[in-house]
Symmetry: C2
Subunit: 327 residues, 2 copies
């Protein structure tokens, strides 16, 4: 597959432009009409394909101030959280996403103390941050309170993250929150966002990355959700370019498998600010061997030190594009 | 996700038992009825989920002596080859599968000379084997001539593999073919099979592995398609156990991403016979830097030496099961 083929029609502007309802799209507030009794994920961000899960029971369905929120019991993936028609979390494969987006940045620096999570209302990232005994302060800024409430009700194994006394919850806009953060506050920032259509759009733009860089201490790290190399190469190329301009330390791209995400993979943009050098591919800490973490929360299901390093190995078609931009 | 959860209902026998048509299944000889104008892949091997591709045009549809064969033009994945309702190849992501199943074994030994492909009727594996100037003889045994004819007609960039003068085609049953192979004939055998429902069932069983071990020279290698760690952990566990009993050299499991395969990943079982030691994770040859191959066929799209090694790094839930069985 040629790069041009993969990236076709998937520029940021193009995506936004095409994000209008069409006859192919399911009603964004609920179960798809295309397969009766199934949920189908159809979006202009991945045209011409759909992933469908059989629905046992719809558990929750409402429109928040920001998006449509749906929870259903699937027949083989456990409970599923859907925002604006796009699957965010399933019981069965959430471990891959939550563990990778958290431990890729936090194992790359010694003794993280202050951590900020943008988005991540379901609490899964908080749960994973809680594994670190070095961490003293965990702030989370989530725009949509309904996501938090729904997670506490239906995904207790994710929302357990909120029980950590080190967590402070801020309901609000992550962009505004970051602007008000004093310079050099955080060791690590994790941006657990939805796709760049809807409330998360600004989280993929350069001014946001500039706010992040300012809020990090020298040598601090950020990890942001960064789409699929199979579907969104051009969008990723733009993000890498923006990050390379903003961050003066390392700029790396990693990826992992999540079966219920489009194309079955999701990527992460990892950057550090100017300061102590960060080599993302070679973790300085092995959380999978941390006895306190394992004793209190059980072993990790997905992440380990080898898969940390492997996540930075890219297929040749992606390496040619990202490798020329990252460093 | 707990191992028990992943493996639920997916024992080999269980799969076979459930492989009878049900109301959920599309007609196995063609386009799904569940989404009009779309192809939907629904199978008892991955119950409760479906991946669907929008169809531009059906190009071929027939029943061979062994299976239903369908080719359609999809709107965003190029042409798609479907056997018994299961996607085998799409133009857009075939590179990942063909390159990994071929170069994982062939880069793990020095100077492969004689290579056998079982299945692989589309020709894609042949195309990748052709990259090796050390190879003198390429045999392929495919059971279904219709798959070959259809590939030559609709997938010329795959079927180009048949043009290599080193290739000898045998139409027939791979199990019978292997039994007749003189002991110690091949340096490498690649088993590019469909799922263990239908004509490929025997290719996942111990007697077949014994025939392979016999047909390989000492220190020779085999790579077989080995399903998804997200969906078929128990089936994989059985395959690993069988291989560990049969093969006296290395026994390793690798995996890669293929967006149009169920759960977005596919695995490979890699084994070597007693003889010169084979360390699958550290390739002894770098085909991605082979000047002759690049000059004649262009650069590889997916495979490179780093992704070779990374493919053997497993998520913790899989490592706990496979690691205890492999060596």
């Amino acid at each position: 597959m040629e790069r041009e083929e993969v990236a076709a029609d998937r520029e940021v502007g193009e995506v936004a432009k095409r994000a209008t309802p069409s006859e192919e799209e399911p009603a964004s507030d609920g179960i798809s009409a295309v397969i009766p009794g199934w949920f189908s994920e159809i979006s202009p961000m991945w045209p011409g394909e759909a992933h469908s899960l059989k629905v046992e029971k719809v558990l929750f369905q409402a429109k928040s101030d920001y998006q449509n929120v749906l929870v259903f019991q699937s027949s083989t993936y456990g409970k599923v959280l859907v925002l604006d028609g796009v699957i965010q979390v399933t019981d069965r494969d959430e471990c891959a996403y939550q563990e990778m987006i958290t431990h890729l940045p936090l194992c790359s620096i010694p003794n993280p103390r202050k951590v900020l999570v943008i988005g991540g209302g379901d609490g899964g990232v908080l749960r994973e941050v809680s594994r670190y005994s070095s961490v003293e302060q965990i702030d989370i800024c989530e725009i949509d309170k309904m996501v938090i409430d729904v997670s506490k009700q239906f995904f207790p194994h994710l929302a357990v993250g909120y029980k950590d006394p080190r967590v402070t919850l801020h309901i609000g806009d992550g962009v505004a929150f970051l602007k008000a953060v004093p310079k050099g506050t955080y060791d690590a920032i994790i941006v657990d966002s939805s796709d760049p259509i809807g409330p998360a759009q600004e989280l993929f733009e350069k001014p946001f990355f500039e706010s992040i860089a300012k809020a990090l201490r020298p040598g601090g790290v950020v990890c942001t959700q960064a789409e699929s190399i199979w579907l969104h190469m051009q969008l990723i190329e733009d993000i890498v370019s923006a990050c390379r301009q903003v961050f003066r330390g390392s700029v790396s791209y990693a990826w992992t498998t999540v079966p219920t995400y489009p194309s079955g993979v999701i990527g992460f943009m990892l950057c550090s600010t100017e300061g102590p050098a960060v080599d993302f591919q070679h973790p300085v800490y092995h959380i999978d061997q941390d006895e306190i973490s394992i004793k209190s929360m059980g072993p990790l299901k997905f992440y380990n030190s080898e898969i940390h390093s492997a996540a930075f190995c890219l297929p040749s078609f992606a390496k040619r594009v990202i490798g020329s931009k990252a460093r």
